[in-house]
């Protein structure tokens, strides 16, 4: 059975690249262009992974992560944050909001899959 992943990023390029990579890895990708858009895509379906950018218009990644964690059905879903801000405080804030892990941009598909392997059971 294929796994489902939600990708939230305001950059269409990133959405396309991440979705494509995930699809190759056997995920069914859903996408959202910002936090709010991402939340709108969560309709209670089974989800195996969420990947979100942090700096986005409308609703940023941290608020999105908090909102996801506030929902019972997504309490334990692995959430990876995409960030170029490698500063400790961004990661700490993300973790505090409920993120599982992070991936520092720029990354390539291989690195993405490697990090996903750390948080999603094969």
């Amino acid at each position: 059975m294929s796994k489902t992943a939600l990708i939230v990023d305001d950059s269409a390029t990133m959405r396309e690249m991440v979705s494509y990579t995930l699809k190759q890895a056997g995920f069914e990708p859903l996408t959202g262009a910002n936090g709010q858009d991402g939340l709108d895509k969560l309709t209670g379906q089974q989800l195996d992974l969420i990947i979100t950018d942090l700096n986005m218009p409308v609703m940023d990644g941290l608020s999105f992560i908090k909102a996801v964690r506030a929902r019972d059905e997504y309490k334990f879903v692995p959430i990876l944050m995409l960030t170029t801000e490698s500063q400790v405080e961004m990661k700490a804030q993300g973790k505090a909001a409920g993120a599982t892990g992070w991936l520092v941009k720029p990354f390539n598909p291989e690195m993405l899959l490697q990090v996903i392997g750390k948080v999603v059971p094969k």
Partner: protein, 685 residues
């Protein structure tokens, strides 16, 4: 897994263009609004987005430049620096370079764009304060010892209770650990485990003591725990004597460094919220739907003579309705907001006003107004010219404005809105308005009007669109050289649009462009000439009249004829003579005069009969055959016949020219035209 990043390049470049627009517009507002946090965030985000993706694709020049821009913006955002004119200029220059760099990278010539100067400028901005963090994403230097043989590590891993609420899976960690080395012993720490009745299934109560033997560096062990290091007690210590590396303190690590990874991959995946499709595909679809509309009309016409069963009649009407809807939906795909053109103007106005020593603000309304992509793109040039003109000639110098009791800052307004099936775009300014006397004097000196002719305001203003007409007393650096308003007018007319101007002395001018929503469909009036049908664009038609004998006058033996429309004298053109159609009405009183207007001049076109108003799908003739005078395209009628769409503006020019010389007009009705259309259809399908 094989993933070729090239497949994302096109998306990246398109997106980068959009971000460039945002950055530029943002930087310009920065001067006015100051360090508005939301504005800075928006600019930052755009630079940030370009950087992130550029890095992934190995566009290192782009990544470097956006990185430095981002650092400067970050300092603005954090309030360590306030935006002054110099800084804004540096950032604008950087964004120019960025634009060049994006274009060059697209062509694979990134190296041809020098970035040293802007990088140096920006770095200087950064240097006069605390040095920011740079080089993020750089390869992490391997801390700790290399791999001098196997080492046994003792690991204490005691997660915090809410570990699961971060989506962590402890088993994955243990599994990863087993991949780094050989797990010699695992012991579960259960001392925190409460009695079952008090246990919360969502809380983590246990910890582990592990012994792992590995030849890999200690950092690899930390990497396993990288996502949980902040939320657990973690101690990693070497047991054996080799490489007494430190343990204990949590270390923040990053998952990796930039690596080149370009490999070939198969199919393209679609984004579930939107998809990017090459324009050709959409064009092919539009063309096909056009064919469908025509075929549908042919079916309707073919069955019109028969009495149909109710079922068939119902089915036909459903097909007709669905076809119309399909056509509308398909046309909508190619619609883009005009904001994509408007975006470039804040910069233009900023630069121009600085250059001219004026203070001008650009306001825009209706940027979300949609029109066909094929119309939007060619609009850039005429609009640029109009705005240039408004800033240069319309808006006065600050002193003059103050003298006239106006605010020092002039306003140029760009406005777009829908009206009927058209889009109207206005460029207006609150400047000095057109100078009637000067236009008149100039027109007389150029022989455009005789000095004894009184002109209405509209006629007078229409003169500025005449070729070679320019009233600028001093040819300024900004406008007044090269293209004139005649070119603007031609550009607009090439889009089946029209342009007009209103002006009030001392109050300002307003240029208004009226455009069809799309070039693919045209509202036309079908007229009959003998056995042929022609289409006249509805936009240029004012009315249709059946003339009385007294309404037609012949001028002095020439072929020139005059049609009297309630006393107004209009030149009369016989379409049948221009197109050499056979079997047409010779007596004007038995035909219809269609009154058309172009360039603010009206003239009558004599046709046999008016069939009716209809939307037609425009087929290009030029691309498939060759240019035919006074014909802008062709369409296929419901009965399968081809009809030419008359270019009214050109018709007027051709007719005037023809009256002077006796050149025969191009005559291509019949076989060869049908061949041309057939070629057009094949080409488009």
């Amino acid at each position: 897994m094989q993933i070729d990043l090239k497949r994302f390049h096109e998306t990246f470049f398109e997106e980068a263009e959009e971000h460039l627009g945002t950055i530029e517009a943002g930087l310009l507002s920065l001067t006015e609004q100051g360090a508005d946090p939301e504005l800075l965030n928006t600019i930052f985000r755009s630079a940030h987005s370009i950087k992130g993706a550029a890095g992934s694709f190995g566009f290192n020049e782009l990544a470097r430049l956006t990185h430095v821009m981002e650092n400067v913006l970050d300092r603005l955002r954090s309030g360590k620096r306030s935006p002054d004119e110099a800084l804004t200029q540096h950032l604008l220059r950087a964004s120019d370079t960025l634009r060049e760099l994006v274009a060059a990278t697209r062509k694979g010539e990134a190296a041809s764009v020098p970035t040293d100067v802007v990088l140096a400028e920006l770095s200087a901005e950064l240097a006069d304060g605390a040095a920011p963090a740079t080089g993020e994403g750089a390869p992490r230097s391997a801390a700790g010892a290399g791999s001098p043989g196997e080492v046994v590590y003792h690991i204490v891993f005691e997660p915090e209770p809410d570990l699961f609420r971060q989506g962590q899976d402890v088993f994955l960690l243990l599994r990863d650990l087993a991949e780094v080395g050989t797990v010699l012993a695992v012991e579960c720490r259960r001392d925190r485990l409460p009695p079952l009745a008090e246990m919360d299934a969502e809380t983590c109560y246990v910890g582990w003591d592990l012994r792992v033997r590995t030849a890999r560096p200690e950092d690899d062990l930390h990497d396993v725990f990288m996502f949980v290091e902040g939320s657990c007690k973690l101690e990693i210590s070497a047991e054996a004597a080799t490489g007494a590396t430190s343990a204990g303190a949590p270390v923040t690590t990053e998952p990796g460094a930039i690596r080149e990874d370009r490999r070939a991959g198969p199919q393209r995946r679609a984004d579930s919220t939107s998809i990017r499709v090459p324009t050709e595909k959409v064009d092919a679809l539009i063309n096909l739907v056009g064919e469908l509309v025509i075929s549908q009309a042919m079916v309707n016409q073919a069955v019109s003579g028969y009495s149909l069963t109710p079922e068939l009649e119902e089915a036909l009407s459903v097909v007709q309705r669905s076809t119309r809807e399909l056509q509308e939906q398909v046309m909508a795909i190619r619609m883009l907001p005009i904001g994509t053109v408007f975006n470039r103007f804040p910069r233009l106005v900023h630069d121009l006003s600085a250059q001219l020593g004026k203070r001008v603000r650009l306001e825009s309304e209706g940027a979300e107004t949609e029109l066909d992509k094929s119309v939007i793109e060619p609009l850039g040039d005429p609009l640029t010219h109009l705005i240039r003109n408004s800033v240069d000639h319309g808006i006065e110098d600050p002193e003059q404005r103050i003298g006239a009791g106006k605010p020092e800052e002039g306003v140029v307004t760009l406005r777009a809105y829908h009206e009927g099936g058209n889009v109207l775009i206005e460029v207006s300014d609150d400047g000095k308005g057109l100078d009637r006397d000067r236009i008149r004097a100039k027109a007389i000196s150029q022989g455009l009007v005789r000095d004894d002719v009184a002109l209405t305001d509209d006629e007078m203003y229409a003169l500025i669109f005449a070729p070679g007409f320019s009233t600028a007393t001093v040819v300024s650096d900004v406008s007044g050289r090269g293209v004139g308003m005649d070119v603007v007018k031609r550009n607009v007319e090439a889009l089946n649009g029209e342009i007009s101007v209103r002006s009030v002395v001392g109050r300002g001018s307003r240029f208004r462009i009226r455009l069809p929503l799309t070039l693919a469909i045209l509202d036309g009036l079908s007229v009959r000439l003998g056995r042929d049908t022609f289409i006249l664009p509805l936009l240029s038609i004012r009315q249709s009249v059946r003339p009385e004998p007294s309404d037609i006058k012949t001028v002095l033996g020439s072929r020139g004829e005059i049609f009297l429309l309630r006393g107004e004298q209009l030149p009369l053109l016989r379409l049948s003579r221009l197109f050499h159609t056979a079997g047409t009405v010779e007596d004007p009183t038995r035909g219809i005069v269609v009154v058309t207007e172009t360039d603010g001049r009206r003239f009558g076109v004599l046709v046999d009969d008016v069939i009716g108003q209809q939307q037609v799908v425009v087929k290009n003739i030029e691309r498939n055959y060759r240019k035919i005078d006074a014909v802008m395209g062709a369409t296929i009628l419901g009965d399968g016949r081809v009809a030419f769409i008359v270019d009214v503006a050109e018709l007027h020019r051709v007719a005037t020219r023809r009256r002077q010389s006796d050149d025969e007009m191009e005559h291509v009705v019949g076989e060869s035209a049908v061949a041309a259309i057939a070629a057009a259809q094949e080409d488009g399908a």
